[in-house]
Amino acid sequence: MTAALRFDPIRLPEKCEQLRKEVRAFLAEEIAAGTFDPNKPNREDTDAPEFSRRVGAKGWLGMTWPKKYGGQERSFLERYVVTEEMRVANAPTRRFFVADRQSGPVLLKYAPEHIKMEILPRICRGEICFAIGMSEPNSGSDLFAAKTRATKTDGGYLINGTKIWTSSAHIADYMIAIFRTSPPTKENRRHGLTQFLVKMKQPGIKVNPIGQITGQYEFNEVVFTDFFVPDDHVLGEVDGAWKQATSELAYERSGPERFLETYYVLTELVRAVGPSPDTRSAEGIGRLVAQLHTMRRMSVSVAGMLEAGKEPVVEASIVKDIGTVWEQQLPHRVRDLAAFVEETATNRETLERQLDFAIKTAPKLTIQGGTTEVLRGIIARGLGLR
């Protein structure tokens, strides 16, 4: 057989359920204190620095990392529980989410020791925010077409060029970016890019906000003009970023955030139809719940494989493909069913407001962090077709 796709049924261990209770209690307190409204995913200001510090104080950031860097040495399955509870509650995770999921693990693997000692504990305390500098005006999915240059100079590099669609760059303290240090070679068009740690909020970096169709300003254009990056901020091999870029993808692609982004409309629909739904609503809700449950079980399974030290790149891509297509369609399916909700439903206005926002959010879900087309290409390679 060619395809060895496995999604073993992982059961979350007891310690995860204890942790889940703690996270739920914490979030309930935050909601009661007015930190955020779980029914309002469309808040204008998604940055919550004080909340970020309180999450850090709980020990829930960098929780799988070594203790000497501020981590807790807990499991991926425990991190999974924290992530999914935060997501379902619509908690304002913007400030710490990228650092915790992606940037921290990159630093752990490729940064020099003194940088790790300086930065990782601050991520764990929820003090600093990260952005990821991948896309450029003329290179999106085709990562290796990046042109922003890093030119060698005394003690470091000078950066010139533009990154774009950079989420959170306007609030970020650091960015992990890829820049061109050499031209590609004939044999390897992926050669010549290097991963760097960039300290933001300095002269030589200009961040220009870009309005999104949701009405929010979460992504940006970032322009570098003779911006200096010291040598010890090179992450990994010079010209060899292509070897480093793929191994993190399993972490990035298979988490609960890849199918829960519009989940709130399903909860609100269930509230609106009440305890005795008609056949059409019951069937619609039943199918959506069955699909959601299946994806979550697949996603938990991938977390279990990561915990076991495997690199389930194809399985993770499948989770993101199916998950993002589902969360993209969800608001439209909920809208279909909401057409039959009684006028008297007390949460009708909330549901309509949420649908309005979710429908505007939907188009980005199959684009960000690896498009559907890129994912299917990776799956096809895993099947032995490319």
Partner: protein, 354 residues
């Protein structure tokens, strides 16, 4: 493809490979393969996997039996293996010993009901009973004035109207008219028609998932052989993306079915969490049978639409299995009602329960 890591599945896969090769079966117009296959399965004790030693079976675990059904799906096995396993399981719940030979369960749809009258006789009509015509005995779940009962019935005592499902397997209407059972016992606490249907639904889910694994495998292989426009069709991006979607459907079906099997194998009762697992598996696997099977046919083109090709052995059976023990729309309505009754704020705790 799942590597077998238990002796039950290893034994079964060896028998399937020797006696249930899809291509050889497909070439055999006389069904002469059926008797030797059934005999080999019986000699290995597989049809009564879920029946304890003391009741005439081989006493395998629920988990091993579920894995066996998944393997049977990978070979699109067309003898009443799943049906006899389910019948043996049902009888064993009420401590009724299983006889030798083919069995099936009655009813096989949540809508049909068999009634027990005051004289101890069974009456009722059950449609879409898989392999009823081949069965020597029926394991019946019936309703009496004191609740559910489990009964063993001589199949020749029932009236059978023969029919075929979409996959060309027997799916018959069974009518019992004041039939005296060979044996009858009260159903144990917690066993009712719903739990029996969920159990059957998970069995079908595992078979569908197995069929999809094979459809993915033969579709990938075919795309790497077939040349069109001067290249292998696997090199066309449109074909690659279709196959990637088929892989996704196959993976989703396998994940849903094995998760539900694991939940049942480790559960003390059919609570809401197990209900979610089992109903979701049937719903999602049925959806995958449609979407995934459709892609497998699209990749194969006209050759896959012929009786000579083996693809239909998987694709049509996967579609047919959707109908048994409650269709996906039936379970979606029931699951939707359960979710609505629990209320909006109890949805996430249910989904995140394991």
């Amino acid at each position: 493809m799942a590597e077998s890591d238990n002796i039950v599945v290893e034994t079964a896969e060896k028998i399937f490979a020797d006696l249930a090769d899809p291509q050889e079966i497909n070439n055999d117009k006389t069904n002469s393969w059926q008797a030797p296959l059934w005999q080999a399965l019986s000699e290995a004790g597989l049809p009564l996997s879920w029946v304890p030693d003391g009741l005439g079976g081989s006493g395998a675990s629920l988990a091993d039996g579920f894995a066996l059904l998944n393997a049977a799906g990978r070979f699109a096995v067309a003898v009443p293996l799943a049906e006899t396993m389910l019948a043996g399981w049902l009888l064993a719940q009420a401590r009724i010993a299983s006889p030798e030979g083919e069995m099936t369960v009655v009813p096989a749809s949540p809508k049909d009901r068999i009634m027990l009258d005051a004289d101890g006789a069974l009456s009722g009509r059950a449609r879409g009973v898989p392999f009823a015509k081949a069965a020597k005995h029926f394991a019946v779940l019936a309703h009496g004035k004191d609740g559910a009962v489990v009964a063993l019935v001589d199949a020749s005592k029932g009236r059978i109207e023969s029919g075929l499902n979409v996959g060309y397997d027997h799916s018959d209407t069974v009518t019992l008219d004041k039939v005296q059972p060979l044996s009858i016992k009260p159903a144990p606490k917690g066993l009712d028609q719903t739990t029996m249907m969920l159990m059957g639904g998970v069995a079908r889910s595992l078979q569908i998932a197995g069929a999809l694994e094979s459809m993915l495998d033969i579709s990938v292989r075919y795309s790497n052989e077939r040349v069109a426009f001067e290249k292998k069709i696997s090199k066309f991006q449109a074909v690659q993306h279709n196959l990637a979607r088929l892989a996704g459907e196959s993976a989703a079906a396998l994940a849903a079915a094995t998760s539900a099997a694991d939940a049942i194998a480790n559960a003390q009762s059919f609570n809401d969490e197990v209900y979610l697992e089992a109903a979701s598996a049937k719903i999602r696997c049925a959806e995958a049978a449609e979407k995934g099977g459709g892609i497998a046919h699209q990749v194969h083109g006209a050759i896959g639409f012929t009786m000579e090709h083996i693809l239909h052995r998987y694709s049509l059976r996967a579609l047919a299995w959707r109908d048994d023990f409650g269709s996906e729309s039936h379970w979606a309505v029931e699951l939707g009602k359960l979710v609505a009754t629990r209320g909006a704020d109890e949805l996430w705790p249910l989904v995140a329960s394991r």
